[in-house]
């Protein structure tokens, strides 16, 4: 019954060889089957809007009344199934309104009047060139696309909220509760989110892919200008290069892609 060392080594060798070749055969076969269908291809739609660096200019002269703000925010809420929990702790924000003091904190002088500090501004995700949220994300759920958009893949988000801590603009919101019951009217063409997932403005990637401008841009009546900052002939590039625009917290070096055109009119 006992075997000697030589026999043991031989048998061990045979078993190892069998195991290895078996697994190679199985994975090889599986690969073939998948390959058969992988001849199929993926491509971007021919209608898709392309750019090297999507950017937005917020022309504050076009935001005068409360209605101007509401209109753009509402256009976003309705197509992105953004819930309204009715309390600021759980609030989900994609595009919202904040005052000058908080939008451009750090840059204000101490003699500013209160009325100036309270000037309203439209704020959203800045789609930074150096997005700290992307660096913080441990799963790659938030990522920078080649066109400059900082996008979210909700499938991969594990809800650690590191990105929320990393974002200096508070542009990310966490679903502490199930959002579905709090969505006024669900748009079936856009997914809702689940509890435990972070979300934010995505510059409407799903609309750009279909050749449409972002919803807020369409609703803004020219108050929001969207285009390719890399293209010298685009409207955003012309404004950014010839007019005085400011960005939020540039001292942090994140290089926001949202520019604020101030002093363009009698307002702000």
């Amino acid at each position: 019954m006992s075997i000697n060392r030589r026999q043991f080594l031989r048998r061990a060798g045979i078993v190892t060889a069998l195991g290895l070749s078996g697994s190679v055969a199985v994975t090889g076969l599986r690969g073939k089957i998948v390959e058969a269908a992988a001849e199929a291809g993926y491509k971007t739609s021919s209608q898709a809007l392309n750019a090297k660096h999507w950017a937005m200019v917020v022309d504050m002269s076009k935001f005068k009344t409360e209605d101007d703000f509401k209109k753009v925010a509402q256009s976003c809420v309705s197509i992105h199934n953004i819930p309204d929990f009715g309390n600021p702790k759980d609030e989900i924000k994609w595009i919202w309104e904040d005052d000058y003091e908080h939008t451009f904190s750090g840059g204000d002088n101490e003699y500013l009047t209160d009325s100036f500090k309270e000037l309203p501004f439209v704020v959203m995700c800045n789609h930074c060139e150096n997005p700290p949220c992307v660096k913080a994300c441990p799963t790659g759920a938030t990522f920078k696309k080649p066109d400059g958009i900082v996008d979210m893949d909700y499938h991969r988000c594990i809800g650690c909220r590191f990105c929320m801590g990393a974002c200096p603009f508070g542009a990310r919101s966490f679903n502490y509760r199930d959002p579905r019951p709090f969505i006024k009217k669900i748009d079936p063409d856009f997914p809702t989110r689940t509890p435990g997932v972070v979300e934010k403005c995505t510059f409407c990637v799903e609309r750009l892919a279909k050749g449409q401008m972002p919803a807020c841009v369409e609703a803004s009546n020219g108050g929001l200008i969207f285009g390719d900052l890399d293209d010298p002939n685009s409207e955003v590039r012309k404004i950014v290069s010839t007019k005085y625009t400011i960005r939020r917290k540039t001292e942090l070096g994140t290089q926001p892609s949202v520019y604020y055109l101030v002093g363009g009119g009698d307002h702000a």
């Binding site: 089957i33 998948v34 058969a36 269908a37 001849e39 199929a40 291809g41 993926y42 491509k43 971007t44 739609s45 898709a48 990522f143 696309k145 066109d147 996008d151 893949d153 909700y154 499938h155 199930d178 579905r180 019951p181 969505i183 669900i186 079936p188 063409d189 997914p191 809702t192 989110r193 689940t194 990637v205 892919a209 279909k210």
Partner: protein, 155 residues
């Protein structure tokens, strides 16, 4: 064998205990997913993204590829092995793979595992295509906790 009787008796009891679920359920064969065809809406172009055999075996990989392509690579069109192009979208599946008779209520989370009013969850009477097999196989996809379910999408 020392204390052979006790050992063998215990072994028999042990094996009987271990195999109890098999004997208990013997003859009560689960009704397999048989309403697949009934749950497919007959549309003008009743051609699936890939062949039925391929989809049966690999739909999960294909869905993962679609997700990768759409969400991360921005590629919204899929050309299949026959050269036919489809929108990379769950709605493309649902156009056919649901009768659209039921539309789940807002807040009710997962129509893919809906078994309301079904005493034996393996016998599925829902008209949801995915459920037909997924309940039977006890695999719960979470697609519908975010994506709009069958019968909801407008395009």
């Amino acid at each position: 064998m020392y204390k052979g009787g006790k050992i063998i008796t215990s072994l028999i009891i042990f094996v009987a205990f271990l195999t109890f679920p098999f004997f208990y359920n013997m003859g009560k064969a689960n009704a397999g997913p048989d309403n697949l065809v009934a749950n497919t809406k007959i549309t003008a172009n009743l051609q699936c993204v890939e062949s039925t055999e391929y989809m049966k075996a690999n739909h999960m990989q294909l869905l993962n590829q679609w997700r990768q392509a759409y969400v991360r690579d921005g590629q919204t069109e899929y050309t299949n092995s026959q050269g036919k192009t489809f929108d990379v979208n769950l709605n493309t599946c649902i156009e056919c793979h649901a009768t659209g008779a039921t539309s789940h209520a807002v807040g009710l989370s997962n129509p893919a595992v809906k078994n309301v009013g079904v005493s034996n969850s393996s016998v599925n009477t829902s008209d949801q295509f995915c459920v037909s097999c997924h309940n039977y196989a006890s695999v719960e996809p979470t697609c519908w906790s975010c994506h709009s379910g069958p019968g909801e999408a407008t395009k």
